[in-house]
């Protein structure tokens, strides 16, 4: 099963019955899959007139209390910025998939991780965050989209799956989750009050700044809870690692190979793979920093997550960055070379 299809099937099993998309490479298979399956599930597949319409349809379906999703790739995600900010402002759950490609501008269509900042810092205007999950295998594409819907409902926040063209296009074996049948109640949803309650309002406007600040503060308290409880990271050979490599998604796979090769050469390398990019797994990285001599961040961009790593490491050990941009996937060999260089300089320093 292709990664894109796995995302789609898992969403359906998570109870998503509303998909609003707009074609863009490299995520088209997702929409195609939805178009095939949704009618059979009694769900709605609707190709919107644009990415903007699509995210606003997610906003609408979510306001009605439904599990809804949209998916796109980098330029299309930029167009959704306003809508995502509205969802955050109105505390609406929903899942947004970004199968990243190289940028900026029209860029290219090859895999990239250059929307990290956009996903974790500023998907749109205003103070807000998304929960951002970064799968690294097709199996995880399945698992995390499933999880994303639950997180979205629990915290009333949009959740983003940050994937890339490689993960979207590749096939790997995958075990699908059992379809979800029980869903949380949404008393805030607009479904018609039937004369039985006061009218519900879904809204992000607060003309009084005091009121707007209150909503911001309440939201950031929720974010604090998310930070406290939802950080996720995978550690690989980190226990005794002197060089800890931090990488997520597609690039973490390359780093894993490079770490293995480094170990073969006697270099104590390890990998921390952030799974939640927001909340950033600061705890895991901080703990590893205590034992490490150097940190290396590997990304498929010009250096973005490395800022978050630096914020956690806070000067305790050197933090280096290695990245490839424009849709190029770094090779294990060149990554290994960087690790070796760092190892050599550490030794040099020790002498």
């Amino acid at each position: 099963m292709k990664g894109n299809e796995a995302l789609a099937e898992a969403a359906i099993r998570a109870g998503c019955r509303f998909f609003f998309g707009y074609p863009i490479t490299p995520q088209t298979e997702l929409a195609a899959y939805m178009a095939k399956r949704m009618p059979k599930e009694g769900g709605v597949y609707l190709q919107a007139e644009s990415e903007i319409a699509a995210i606003n349809m997610v906003y609408g379906a979510s306001a009605a209390g439904k599990r809804a999703m949209t998916s796109s790739s980098s330029p299309g995600i930029s167009l959704k910025g306003e809508g995502i900010s509205y969802m955050a402002g109105a505390d609406l759950p929903g899942v947004i998939i970004n199968v990243q490609r190289g940028g900026p501008g029209l860029g290219g269509i090859q895999p990239s991780q250059s929307d990290y900042f956009q996903a974790t810092r500023a998907t749109g205007h205003g103070d807000f965050h998304l929960i951002v999950l970064a799968p690294s295998t097709v199996q995880e594409m399945t698992d995390y989209v499933f999880r994303a819907f639950d997180l979205a409902d629990e915290y009333r926040t949009p959740v983003m799956i940050l994937a890339d063209g490689m993960l979207g296009q590749m096939m790997e074996p995958v075990v699908l989750p059992e379809p979800k049948t029980e869903f949380p109640a949404k008393p805030w949803a607009v479904t018609g009050h039937k004369g039985q309650r006061t009218h519900n309002i879904v809204n992000s406007l607060h003309l009084k700044p005091e009121r707007l600040e209150e909503t911001n503060v309440e939201r950031y308290q929720r974010y604090d809870r998310i930070k406290a409880t939802e950080q996720l990271a995978e550690e690989y050979r980190v226990e005794d690692a002197e060089i800890v490599v931090v990488a997520f998604g597609a690039s973490s796979r390359i780093v894993r190979s490079a770490v293995n090769k480094a170990r073969e050469k006697g270099i104590k390398a390890g990998l921390i793979r952030p799974i939640t990019l927001w909340p950033f797994p600061a705890d895991a990285i901080s703990a590893a920093t205590d034992r490490a001599k150097a940190i290396l961040t590997v990304e498929m961009n010009m250096g973005q997550m490395v800022d978050d790593v630096r914020l956690v490491v806070c000067g305790r050990v050197p933090v280096e960055f290695f990245g490839r941009a424009g849709g190029i996937i770094p090779t294990p060999a060149e990554t290994l070379a960087v690790i070796e260089r760092i190892a050599a300089s550490l030794e040099g320093g020790a002498r």
Binding site: T25, P26, I109, Q110, G165, M166, Q169, M170, M171, E172, P173, R253, I254, R256, S257, A258, N260, I329, T331, P332
Partner: protein
């Protein structure tokens, strides 16, 4: 044969490269291995070259993008020219010799030219040259039990196109034929690739 096998299949769009790659991946799945299949994608496919990376391994697969293949299946000259240098020493190169006039000059890899397109046309198997090459590949490196590949073919041909199943099998068989034109009934699989 290593426990990890990285293959690159390349040709024109429409030559069945992606399907052939899926057959290999499917066979890996049936035999319970780790596997990945990654196509080139996007509009450059159009009229250009298409390729896909297939990895089979006993361990979790790192990069699914094969840059230094153990196996190259090349179905046209541009692809052959583009990728031949990246094949690891000792690697295997299966070539559709109908489509490639100039064979490579490397002597540190094993080269197997098969006039697959010609063979396909001669046998009424238009469009199945890629499956012939998979047969040849299996014969040469036995990456799985031939029965597994047969099963993979059965599962990969969609029910709506069931009438194409015999043709696919035929193509596979032609590829598996050894030089003297004799079909190889059981493939001598390397130890770490055998099943059950």
């Amino acid at each position: 044969m290593a426990a990890s096998l990285n293959m690159l299949l390349a040709g024109f769009g429409g030559q069945g490269i992606l399907f052939a790659g899926k057959l290999i991946a499917y066979a890996g799945l049936i035999e319970g291995r780790e596997l990945s299949w990654l196509p080139s994608y996007g509009p450059e496919m159009r009229g250009g070259t298409a390729n896909c990376s297939v990895c089979l391994s006993d361990e979790p697969i790192g990069s699914p993008l094969v840059l230094e293949p153990d196996v190259l299946v090349a179905m046209n000259q541009p692809s052959l020219d583009k990728f031949i240098d990246s094949v690891v020493p000792g690697g295997k190169v299966i070539i559709d010799s109908t489509m490639c006039q100039r064979l490579p000059e490397r002597d540190d890899v094993d080269i197997f030219p098969v006039p697959a397109t010609q063979l396909a046309e001669d046998n009424g198997l238009k469009g199945l040259a890629s499956v012939i090459l998979i047969g040849k590949l299996l014969r040469e490196i036995g990456f799985c039990d031939p029965r597994t590949l047969d099963e993979a073919i059965v599962k990969s041909v969609p029910p709506k196109k069931a009438h194409l199943l015999p043709k696919n099998r035929k193509a596979f068989e032609i590829g598996m034929l050894n030089e003297d034109g004799e079909s190889v009934p059981v493939c001598s699989l390397p130890e770490d690739w055998s099943v059950e």
